[in-house]
Amino acid sequence: MAVEVIKAGGNLSPAAPAAGGAALNARIQKRSRAHGGREFVLDLELAIPAGITILFGASGAGKTTLLDCLAGLLEADAGRIIVNHGVLFDKAAGINVPTRQRQVGYVFQDLALFPHLSVEANIRYGLAKIPADEQRRRTAAILESLRASHLASRFPREISGGERQRVALARALVTDPALLLLDEPLGGLDAPIKSAIVDDLRAWNRAHQVAILYVTHDRGEVFALGERVLVMERGRLIAQGTPQEVLNAPRQEAVAQLAGFENIFDATVDATHETQGTMTCRLAGTAVTLEAPLTHVAAGATVRLAVRAGDILLATSRPHDLSARNIIPGVVLSLEQRDFMITAQVDCGARFEVHLTPGARDSLQLHSGREVWLVLKTHSCQFVGPGT
């Protein structure tokens, strides 16, 4: 599937699954006022198939608001929510199925396990309408499948964070939801525990085939889960596709920032080279020029370019005979170590952030004030939108 970048306003591109084939189909508009009095508008349309779909965005992008609307905890101002052909909400038709009848499994960001009930009682809570022995059987089965049987008689405060997350997941899954909403359910967990829980979740969904919306603002988690991702910003859906597609080919600045493009520049297109498929851009207010892949802009236009700090090479003498088209001289301003990554700020007229390993720093004997050359491949320079 090709990456789809959605225009503000939230119209789905034709490549999105048709309404009939999607497990969740929703169009939601919701105005709300944040504590600061700032108005927040959620306005988007989604059609997602069964399986895990990652909902990615910075804090405040509206991810939780969207989930709350889907669960019926918040009422949208306009729109429609359809899960497996069942209409849960339709403002125009006056339909608003109450939360308790929506069959939406929701794992909250802070889990919201009932503190006064044991793990078993927490899980059985959603099974009130079926006979007691069936409740026991299903509770035991879901605990077993999430490898949490030994926790049944414990209270939430007596178990670890990862165990709590399993229990919260079990409590949502045991009710056989038609739609599963996971709001950063595995935040703060170590990667091995996380992937074990996700594997269990995938195994569960092979049998159930429901749409799972998995919220995260952690880039690493998006790549680890590796499935369909929706990117949200300021209440709107701005891109969707596989993580690689969305994050590696950002054509919008918001995606670029989310995807970790540390360097974003305003630039003017000096010349376009149609036969080469490139264009020469001069960074605003500098003499620095970059060769970037050609986009549909005319010479003289202003554009924004993004470059990953990890995609830039450093050399201590002017390199020769390289395929890379951008070789820019500069001076190291500062070097900062975080874990096993060195962040270098380099002044080339424009300021670049460059990431390198401690080993590279030592063998190049880098220090602030050192003269260096930055090496950038043309395709490392991404066009992310018109300039400002």
């Binding site: 669960a71 019926g72 905890l73 109450p98 939360t99 308790r100 009848q101 929506r102 069959q103 939406v104 499994g105 929701y106 909250f108 802070d110 919201a112 009932f114 503190p115 006064h116 809570y125 959603g126 009130a128 309408k129 209270f155 939430p156 405060r157 409590r171 949502a172 009710t175």
Partner: protein
């Protein structure tokens, strides 16, 4: 010590506490969760007995229950006797007088229950009643105990409203506080002192319980 008055007072306090729990739980729930704009009016009415002189409150209750009032007329047609100056009148007066002592601790406790639990309960298919009984109430247990203790102690010790709507009929409306007043009037200080000490002890125990619960030093609830 007038045991008749003491037992009557305990009976009154237990009855009033029971009735107020039944009334106070829905009122407190409504006050906590309602989004009506005029909610403050109900809150003000509920809190009124806190600031009104008991004689004023007692006076209006007496008027409302009197043989010329609709309530009084209805009661008379139902039971054949007037409502004022009976034990029933005492119960009604005490219920109104102690209402804030039930509703306010409950409402305060309900409002501290994290809304995430209420939301989680709804997503798990629970009705509002089930959410209230299984989640909100158990998580408000200290507020519930506070309400019970305060209501009981407050009703045990009330004087003004009781005197206004009940009078001083031995075995019917004569409570311990009125008994103490009578004993003091008759310069019977030893007897007055005995009864007063009992009330003092009950109040102290009730309030100790309230503060112990609200400082959460209580070990009865494992999730604290």
């Amino acid at each position: 010590m007038d045991w008749q008055a003491f037992l009557l007072t305990v009976r009154l306090a237990v009855l009033v506490t029971g009735i107020l729990l039944l009334l106070g739980l829905p009122i407190a729930y409504w006050i906590t969760y309602s989004r009506r704009r005029w909610k403050f009016l109900i809150e003000a009415v509920v809190a009124m007995p806190l600031v009104l002189p008991p004689t004023v409150l007692g006076f209006y209750i007496l008027l409302a229950l009197g043989s010329k009032s609709p309530v009084g007329v209805w009661w008379e047609s139902l039971t054949g006797h007037t409502l004022a100056f009976t034990f029933e009148a005492l119960v009604i007066g005490s219920v109104i007088y102690s209402l804030p002592f039930t509703v306010q601790p409950l409402a305060a406790a309900f409002s501290t229950v994290d809304q995430k639990f209420v939301a989680a309960s709804a997503t798990l298919g629970a009705s509002r009643l089930r959410t209230f009984l299984r989640i909100i109430l158990p998580l408000s247990i200290s507020g519930l105990m506070t309400a019970v203790a305060l209501t009981f102690a407050h009703t045990m010790g009330e004087f003004g409203v009781v005197l206004m709507v009940g009078g001083n009929i031995p075995g019917v409306t004569r409570t311990v506080s009125i008994d103490i007043y009578d004993q003091v009037q008759a310069t019977n200080y030893t007897s007055a002192n005995q009864t007063a000490l009992v009330l003092l002890a009950i109040s102290f125990v009730a309030l100790s319980l309230v503060y112990a619960l609200n400082r959460r030093v209580w070990a009865l609830w494992p999730w604290r």
